[in-house]
Amino acid sequence: MSHETRRILALHGGLLVLLLGLQFVLPAYHHGNLARIMVLASYAIGYNILFGYTGLLSLGHALFFAAGMYGMGLTIQHAGFSPAPALLAGLLAGVAVSAGLAVLALRTSGVAFMIVTLMFAQAGYLSILYFGEYTRGDEGFVIQTTQRMLWGIDLSDPTNRYLAALLLFSVCLGLSLWLVRAPFGRVLVAIRENEERVRMLGYDTHAHKLGAMIVSGTISALAGAVYGLLFGYAGASFASVQYSIFPLLWVLLGGAGTVLGPFLGTLFMFYLIDLSSGLTTAYMLIAGVALVVLTLFAPQGLAGELRRRLWGWLP
């Protein structure tokens, strides 16, 4: 194993060990927050694969997050599924929706792509409201504690919930780390840098973008399914525009195109919004200011700047 690979594994593995250790020492409030952050960071990791690595800016990823959440939630609620098959249903819903959207949206590029993804996500959100009979619309529905027993483990218990969130995050982190260093991931980065050149090197760029979107959407859907299961609630707000803007914001802040960026961004933004919602109902102002400041002055984000100035080996 090369020196560089050892450093990378040490850094990322170290983070996971740290998060595991925090399980035992954090006070209840932060413990719950961190569980949420880890699941949302997994969503951000999914988003980063399409945005940070492939260079495609989607404004509709809430569609995938909600597909997973409702795929899981609806099968529990209406079909009496137990958690494990329900999670699988959420995952498959994610695959289907992301494949469908990819086939349509990838016929466009740039600004049109952003608008198309935004529109389809909006249609998804409105559909959840329209079919309120099954989805309970804006109100959403609670997933009972009894329905959240996975193989005898009560997922509503804070410790189990934290560890489940950590497991999801570890899987997503590991997956993204492997993907971006593998040949497929390298081609995605090259497509971001100069797509025409990649085509003329003999790569099917359309197939690569399709694959990237499906992987990205599926990871996002898995995060949505787990979020609904761990926190016992599925609601239309998770399909709204806000939840498409959030991963963009988290990834921009943490560092697009880095593996750790999504986690750093989610962590910071979560606490930033948490603090400001204590001060005012207009806490999204912080999100707005952050977006403007980041695009103007720090498009590389935290981990991106770190990589640019100090640690060039950071994946």
Binding site: L57, A105, M119, L126, Y130, M284, A287, G288, L291
Partner: protein, 308 residues
């Protein structure tokens, strides 16, 4: 009311929607046409127009017509100034890069919206119309004694609504005149056609951009002032106009002003009629899917020219 008169009523209401929508959408189209920038905060400029109109009417007091007239002048100017400032501080620094601009305008959307929430509050507040006479409308029916003119109860409009349609028409004609005939319009069209050449000819492109961005926002604000006596001013009222303007501009063909106006009329009228038959949520779903599919399969819209 019978179906016939009902559709006439829906069409009239739709015409008001179309008038306001046309103004708002033309603002968005102008910005995209000249600057190649998609402004996601456009709906918030609309909302600011309504909120400022309320504030002006409150402050000026007296007869509603005075307050309204003042708002009609002040709100678009104020919003235009805010927009121009945003362009000079933010968009210019991003060099109008399409993707970064969209992200920045999303941020701008939240800033404007949330600041309004903090100052104006979450309530919806009305503004009184300057004049508001009810006008009953006739309908022709085939009765026992041949064709008769009747006055169905409920079929009518107000003088204000007719005035809105008229005012929008006048402003749109003014915009067209400016673009086609005035020196400013010529400068704008030159900048749109070839930015670098315009620079080489000494046209102050950055100032033109700030002006265009300001005019686009002012048009939206003006539309909002016109509609606010009918609809109330609320900090979240920008979302629907944004979506509808997008639909109009994309279907009408990005960068084509006549196409935009035509699409606005089409969509404004059909929105009114469709809401008679379908639930508003379903109508919105159809509308959003329509925009997406048009972009996917016919990106030049219905009236734009295909770029090779």
């Amino acid at each position: 009311m019978e179906l016939g008169p009902y559709i006439l009523l829906a069409s009239l209401e739709g015409a008001v929607t179309a008038a306001v929508l046309a103004l708002t959408a033309v603002g968005l189209a102008l910005v995209f046409g000249v600057m190649r920038v998609v402004n996601i905060a456009h709906g918030e400029f609309f909302m600011l127009g309504a909120v400022i109109a309320w504030w002006v009417a409150q402050t000026v007091g007296g007869h509603p017509a005075i307050g309204f007239a003042a708002a009609l002048v002040i709100a678009p100017l104020a919003v235009g100034a805010i927009a121009a400032a945003a362009d000079m501080t933010i968009l210019k620094r991003l060099d109008y890069d399409p993707e970064r601009t969209i992200v920045a305008t999303i941020g701008l959307l939240y800033i404007l919206q949330q600041l309004t929430l903090m100052t104006y509050g979450p309530e919806a507040r009305p503004v009184e119309a300057p004049f508001n006479q009810r006008i009953a409308l006739p309908w022709i029916e085939h009765g026992d004694t041949g064709w008769q003119v009747i006055w169905p109860w409920g079929l009518g409009t107000t003088s204000y609504k007719l005035a809105v349609i008229g005012a929008a028409g006048v402003v749109l004609a003014g915009v067209w005149l400016m673009m086609a005939r005035s020196r400013l319009g010529l400068v704008m069209r030159a900048t749109q056609a070839d930015r670098d050449m315009a620079l080489a000819f000494g046209i102050p492109v950055e100032r033109v951009y700030a002006l265009v961005f300001g005019i686009g926002a002012a048009l939206a604000a003006l539309a909002a002032v016109l509609i606010v006596p009918i609809q109330q001013a609320h900090y979240l009222m920008g979302a629907d106009p944004l979506l509808l303007s997008f639909i109009v501009v994309i279907i009408g063909g990005l960068g084509s002003l006549p196409g935009t106006v035509l699409a606005a009329v089409l969509i404004g009228l059909s929105d009114g009629i469709i809401s008679v038959f379908f639930s508003p949520t379903l109508a919105k779903i159809i509308a959003t899917l329509l925009v997406a599919l048009v972009l996917v399969f016919r990106p030049e819209g219905l009236f734009g020219t295909r770029r090779t």
